[in-house]
Amino acid sequence: MTRRRAFTVAAQGLGGLAGAAIILPAVGFAVAPIFHRGKERWEAVGPVGDFVEDTYRQVVFTETEGIGDAGKTTAYVRRSSKQLEEEPGKFVAVSNRCAHLGCPVRFVEAAGNFICPCHGGVYDFQGKRIGGPPVRPLDQFQTRVRNGQVELGPRYSVTSQLEPVRARDPGEFTGGIWEYLYPPRPSTFPPP
């Protein structure tokens, strides 16, 4: 290697280093939120006595803090049902976020179903998909009882058999091979 060539390579290397010193922190700054998990948040939504087995009660609580009403979300809460052979003494909180593309679903009392206004997704009483384009059942929130109040915690998704998995975005399948094709994001909480 000639002296001239050595200096050329050294100068280019230094230039690349200087460029990387600017670009890498900036890019890292932009992608950091992917790897950041927020603080676990629990919010009381009403006394235990407010909730029954055979129908849902709609509650609104804050899922993302600091952005006002836009950070609130809706959940449908009931006691676990003996008829459906669910674990007794628990509370079930179903998210109103449609598993198709995230529109807000509504529980229709007369039909006993959740119905999405955007593209016609339909879910049964437990939140399992029974019609339309959604790819999995409705998400749920972790529940617990503190001082006689039902509290809602982090969101999680479920498979078609209602087994809890880490929260997925709408439109993403759960269970089986899909657990690898739609890998869990570091920003979500482990399922209960």
């Binding site: 939120p33 593309l101 709408p170 993403e172 869990p184």
Partner: protein, 304 residues
């Protein structure tokens, strides 16, 4: 050739005196054509003359230092093929739509607040209270749709006229990237008013992109800056919408237009090819069918 007397030739056309022969002889043109000594122009007259020359002087000063004339002449007076028609203006129309978006966008940014609690209020303020605010906002909003429509029409023209073929493939590729960036502008701008429609449209849009296997979920988190759409999502979309993508679009438009000027445009596919003017097949010459005056080199008439 007989010499024409100087007396009948107008003074400006006379032959000037030879160098070194000072003064004016009888047979030669005067070095100073004026009979009386010139009046010295007054100070005011001289100032006036200088003022008249000033614009040309400034342009000449810039031109000498930049060489702009050569570049602009080459670009603006370049040849275009026969058959060029109104469809060829769709690219310029798209560029104009982009410029309109850039100008109105800059002025909208003077009143807009990219905060989840104030964004909706600042748009309402622009529409209801700022003078001409509704007009500028409306131009930006409807102009966005116009730009998307024009860019597709331009793409269609390029496709159906076959203008993407050799040697213009790279310009097609750049154009496709510009199309993607334009769609990204349309998507990121949709969230900024932060009303119900923007909010839910952005959620649906982000979730659609999240359905891409393996990278989709991470891309969604990147766009939202977290697992839920929040305050940082709006700030992020704002930065993408007014800093990141416009810069890339401007750079790529520059490359796109450079290639247009360098490679020229194509003739419409229905244009007939001109008859060859230079190359005449030798066989034709031998047959004596040279109606174009192609005579043999020795000047003798062709002996058919």
């Amino acid at each position: 050739m007989p010499k024409i007397p100087d007396s009948i030739i107008p003074a400006p056309l006379r032959k000037p005196a030879k160098p070194g022969q000072g003064g004016t002889s009888k047979d030669q043109a005067p070095t100073d054509l004026k009979t009386s000594p010139p009046e010295r122009p007054s100070h005011v007259e001289r100032l006036g003359d200088q003022a008249k020359d000033a614009p040309a002087d400034v342009l000449a000063w810039v031109d000498q230092r930049t060489g702009a004339t050569g570049f602009l002449t080459g670009m603006l007076y370049r040849k275009v093929p026969k058959g060029t028609n109104w469809f060829y203006t769709l690219g310029s129309a798209t560029l104009f739509a982009f410029i309109a978006q850039a100008v109105t966008g800059v002025f909208l940014a003077m009143f807009y607040t990219p905060s989840t609690t104030q964004a909706y209020g600042s748009i309402a303020h622009i529409n209801n209270e700022v003078p001409l605010g509704a007009l500028v906002h409306g131009m930006h909003k409807w102009g966005a749709s116009v730009m998307v429509i024009l860019i597709f029409l331009h793409m269609g023209r390029t496709f159906f006229f076959g203008a993407y073929k050799y040697p213009r493939e790279l310009n097609w590729v750049i154009g496709v990237v510009l199309l993607i960036l334009t769609m990204l502008m349309a998507f990121s701008g949709y969230l900024l008013p932060f009303d119900q429609r923007s909010f839910w449209a952005s959620i649906v849009g982000i979730n659609i992109n999240g359905t891409g296997p393996i990278v989709g979920p991470y891309l969604s988190d990147f766009l939202r800056a977290g697992p839920e759409l929040g305050a940082t999502t709006l700030a992020r979309f704002y930065a993408i919408h007014m800093l990141l993508v416009p810069g890339a679009i401007i750079a790529l438009i520059g490359a796109h237009m450079y290639l247009v000027v360098k490679l020229g445009t194509t003739a419409p596919p229905w244009t007939k090819i001109d008859k060859p003017k230079i190359a005449v097949p030798v066989a034709q010459l031998d047959a004596g069918a040279n109606g174009n005056g192609a005579a043999p080199a020795n000047g003798a008439p062709p002996s058919a």
